[in-house]
Symmetry: C2
Subunit: 144 residues, 2 copies
DNA sequence: TACTATTTGAAAAAGCTTCTCATTTAAGAA
DNA sequence: TTCTTAAATGAGAAGCTTTTTCAAATAGTA
């Protein structure tokens, strides 16, 4: 996904292309992984020091509403955001917080669940794997 | 898991069996599904109106520390708690909030992830399925 | 009973997210 | 370019959940 696509989508929906929104989008596009609202705010502030957290959250809400943004729930309850890229799950390092996406779903489990709960209308699922990345294993991942 | 087991575990660890903790445990044992901290507090207050939220959270922390409590993250970021019962995942209704546990894990996906990330030391995972239960489908689950 | 470290209640504080509202501004019209 | 207007913004207040603080109470033991 590039910024042109996103901005075109914005225009289609009648949303204004404010500099703040553009900067928030650039930050999300540049991000190597999912970011917290605060991290997004800090990065945006490098170009627009006065953007309020309200604006950050409002923009994130707007993006979510249009399916452009994914929200990732970390095991401690913390939320992170990244631009939507098909359906993906994450491999998350408990040491450094780095998250790597992978594109496949727990198919076997979903099938079993659906089979065993025929009355339940499955609409979605979450799946995330936690542990320690190669770098963190050397320092903090052992013996936990 | 019954209250005797839990209380015995408490004693072993040198924890005091205060009436507040016992009541929190009873509430968790009686619960039909995972509860929010506030729900636990409300139920505890029926017997002990003055138990503070601080005590609730501290007790939940203690239980988590000893592996007696599981925390479930809902898709909106809300947290719920239930006494640990082996390793389980949840089928959660977006209509009424009811959560049903199931005892199997997304094995295929976990294997793939581990294979594709040999440097990563996998320590855990989360998996939850969301949708609408039979009751809610009749009223609010259609066309969402 | 007396002792003491643990636990508690109450309130304050902290952290994240949402809301409020006067002001600003993007986008289109003239 | 200037005007118009609804949408968006910044700043701060407010709302929630969770954590911390600390004097007072108490479980467990001697």
């Amino acid at each position: 996904m590039n910024i042109q696509t996103v901005l075109a989508g914005f225009k289609e929906k009648g949303l204004r292309l404010t500099p703040q929104r553009q900067q928030i989008l650039r930050v999300l596009l540049k991000a190597g992984g999912p970011l917290t609202a605060r991290e997004i705010a800090e990065l945006v502030h490098r170009s627009f020091p006065n953007v309020g957290l309200g604006t950050i959250y409002r923009t994130l809400d707007t993006l979510k509403e249009f399916g452009l943004l994914d929200e990732i729930l970390f095991p401690d309850g913390g939320k992170r955001f990244e631009l939507h890229r098909k359906h993906r799950h994450h491999l998350i390092c408990l040491g450094c917080g780095q998250a790597v996406a992978f594109p496949f779903c727990p198919a076997d489990c979903l099938m079993k669940v659906a089979e065993q709960n025929p009355d339940f209308d499955v609409r979605g699922h979450t799946f995330a794997v936690f542990g320690y990345c190669g770098d963190c294993r050397k320092t903090q991942g052992e013996g936990g």
